[in-house]
Symmetry: C2
């Protein structure tokens, strides 16, 4: 998997958080995610079809989700309610949409699905074993989140 | 949302369980799922794009997942390990693929994403509020599972 496919997702994440929530997370070192590794507490998931296939997940520790969503909405939120789930889905949608446009400019046509949002402490999101999953860790003032890219190029 | 879009998923689920696992689940009454309603313990999720958009989820209580996967694999499984997650993803993929072909015959073109499998007791999978989600409950000898259809027609 070429890094040029990953970078638009990272760029879009940083752009979206900065412009829509005024947050500049620090970025850690990407790593290949083990199949047993869990995600954080609140995860937005979007499926990708077309020349890039798989899914992208924005997974937040609960504290980080509340921080990011409070900044995104411009009002404090204190628990993971429907409004927070909607906001996490919307943020994931904006990130995937931004990456989709950048990838189209590079010649990769893809379609993104409607977001789903998974909530539950220590949930895990698995994918077919033949598809590698890269995790790009980020850190905010209120805790970590990650962008997970489980992708392959079409046949 | 027309019932002709839902039925292929129900038919495919019954077909797949019967032919691939020898299981004939009883089917309950479909209901509109509330936004706060959780899913069971192991859920295969596939995104749909094209003329039908959203996602389909096969969500199993752990006991039902182990029963169905044991029958599907032809060997007993006793815990939700990687093999079980792969099998739930594969079953979801086969159901979505079957429904996709039936919908194509009815004039609905769609593409299905790679499956993801969510594991975690009482996890919930949310979707955008403008998309209704219908749950079709099924019961096996080893407990319940459901097919969740969160779908809309394009444009």
């Amino acid at each position: 998997m070429n890094v040029e496919v990953f970078n638009p997702f990272i760029t879009a994440t940083l752009d979206v958080l900065q412009t829509m929530a005024g947050i500049d997370p620090s970025r850690g070192t990407p790593r290949l995610k083990g199949r047993d590794d869990g995600s954080y507490d609140v995860s937005g998931v979007i499926g990708l079809t077309g020349q890039v296939q798989g899914f992208v997940t924005l997974s937040f520790r609960e504290s980080a989700a509340l921080h990011v969503v409070s900044s995104f909405l411009g009002e404090p939120v204190t628990c993971v309610d429907e409004q927070v789930k909607d906001a996490v889905g919307e943020l994931t949608n904006i990130v995937a949409g931004g990456a989709k446009r950048a990838l189209a400019d590079s010649g990769y046509a893809l379609t993104i699905s409607i977001p789903s949002v998974v909530v539950g402490p220590n949930h895990s999101i698995s994918r077919p074993k033949e598809i590698p999953c890269f995790e790009i860790p980020f850190e905010t003032d209120a805790g970590p989140f990650s962008v997970e890219l489980c992708l392959r190029l079409a046949g």
